[in-house]
Symmetry: C2
């Protein structure tokens, strides 16, 4: 049996992980389940877009490894913006290596992701050692990890037993794994029919959300905020639907799109709450 | 039916991909199927180890994203060492995102991987768009891509139909995909029994090779060079088995280990050639 639909606020009170709690509280406080994915390669565009969309989002998703003129001060500014606009940071690193290597990639290098990213993600394909490797760095810092249980691309191999194994791995490490990148609720997946207790409370963050488009040339497919919330997702991830190409940001247009997606995501949530 | 065992030199003559050809020629010329994985976080250690092991290897595998004091001159020095010692470079990035994003991660950011890494790798989990995204950047540069068809970690999900789908994806894009990270030959896998022609010539690079150890605390498992060559692998990947912790490199000890692994890998190859 699925859970009764619970509010973000109720889940925030009970969630054991600090990063998950902080995200649920931010969603509730800002009435926003919108995460903006900021996929631009110039530092100035990156920071401009985040400053403009900041008031409308619970979470900013980054790919700092695509920024051409990356330097450590970008992170300091990003952290300032995170405080100014009250959002969390999610470096979408998609770690996918063995435990020893991901621990180094998470902690070290020029990007030092663990030191500033509240939430990050990993593919379950290497097996549980990827979680223990990342947890050795992230858990002492109060970070949270999402596993990629499904992908929104055509021909994705993250289906069926792959998805089930991802959920089992998460459940076995739910002191650090707070949820998934997926297309629907993952609570209860991979459990035996005998398991009567269902105390899963995995967060589900969902990319491939759009109000205007159905797909791109590189295999990405889109659904509406209402479709994904109804499927049991918690956070909608939107990128170029909000800021277009990202250069020469038209502040008013980007604000309008960010508010449009925030309102669509929140309205879909409120409908479900009233059912 | 499996192919008759073919020499690296014979395969080099016939391989359609420039990066694969270059690797096979290097292996033959240097009598080395050894790739050293250089997983250290200090620039000085990174370059020292590569300069010491360079004469013994066909390929140097890097994780430039773990180097704390990374700056662009490291790449220039790495390229100089590649020419001096006659080896190719393989950034073990394990790309794992959608097509648009991996194209940016491959071309852009502080690391600009496509501009210097002859070979890189990707997980097939997002579906074929990850290959077309990377090919849009790497193919014009004559680069080659490896897919992760299997992993050497405990509980890996890259098994069964996942592995088969990886091989089918590679076969459909064999103008850019030159082979796999895997534990055995992938030629013929995922083909219909009716397919009589078997013209696959995928390179297989294999991590988890050790002469002295059987496993580490983070889930990595080890096999000998002879075991992996006999299973149909082409290149053995060895890391700390050669350079230990990596700081204060004992040049003679590291040279001795590199030569030991080169000789073990080559002797396993020569045995197979004589069968």
């Amino acid at each position: 049996m699925p859970h009764k639909f619970r509010s973000y606020a109720e889940r925030a009170q009970k969630h054991p992980n600090a990063a998950a709690r902080a995200l649920l509280e931010t969603i509730d406080r800002k009435k926003s389940n919108l995460c903006v994915s900021v996929d631009v390669t110039a530092k100035a565009d990156f920071l401009n877009i985040i400053d403009v969309v900041g008031p409308y989002v619970c979470l900013v998703k980054t790919h700092v490894d695509i920024i051409e003129d990356f330097e450590p001060s970008i992170i300091a500014t990003l952290q300032d913006l995170s405080k100014k606009h009250d959002f969390l940071i999610f470096e979408d690193r998609k770690f996918a290596d063995i435990g020893n290597t991901v621990a180094l990639q998470y902690a070290s290098g020029v990007h030092k992701i663990a030191s500033w990213s509240h939430i990050t993600n990993a593919h379950p394909v290497p097996g549980p050692s990827i979680i223990t490797g990342l947890a050795s760095v992230g858990k002492p810092l109060g970070r949270g990890l999402l596993l990629l249980a499904e992908m929104s691309t055509k021909g994705s191999l993250a289906t069926g037993s792959y998805t089930e194994e991802a959920v089992k791995m998460a459940r076995a490490h739910n002191d650090f794994v707070i949820g998934f990148i997926a297309q629907r609720s993952m609570n209860g997946i991979g459990k035996n029919p005998d398991d009567v207790e269902d105390d899963d409370d995995f967060l589900v963050l969902t990319p491939g959300v759009g109000l205007d488009v159905k797909g791109d040339a590189m295999g990405q497919q889109y659904r509406t905020p209402e479709e994904v919330l109804t499927a049991g997702c918690d956070v909608i991830i939107v990128g170029r639907g909000i800021y277009g190409k990202g250069a020469d940001v038209d502040i008013q247009a980007v604000q309008a799109q960010a508010e449009r997606y925030r309102a669509a995501g929140w309205s879909a949530y409120e409908k479900l709450l009233q059912l």
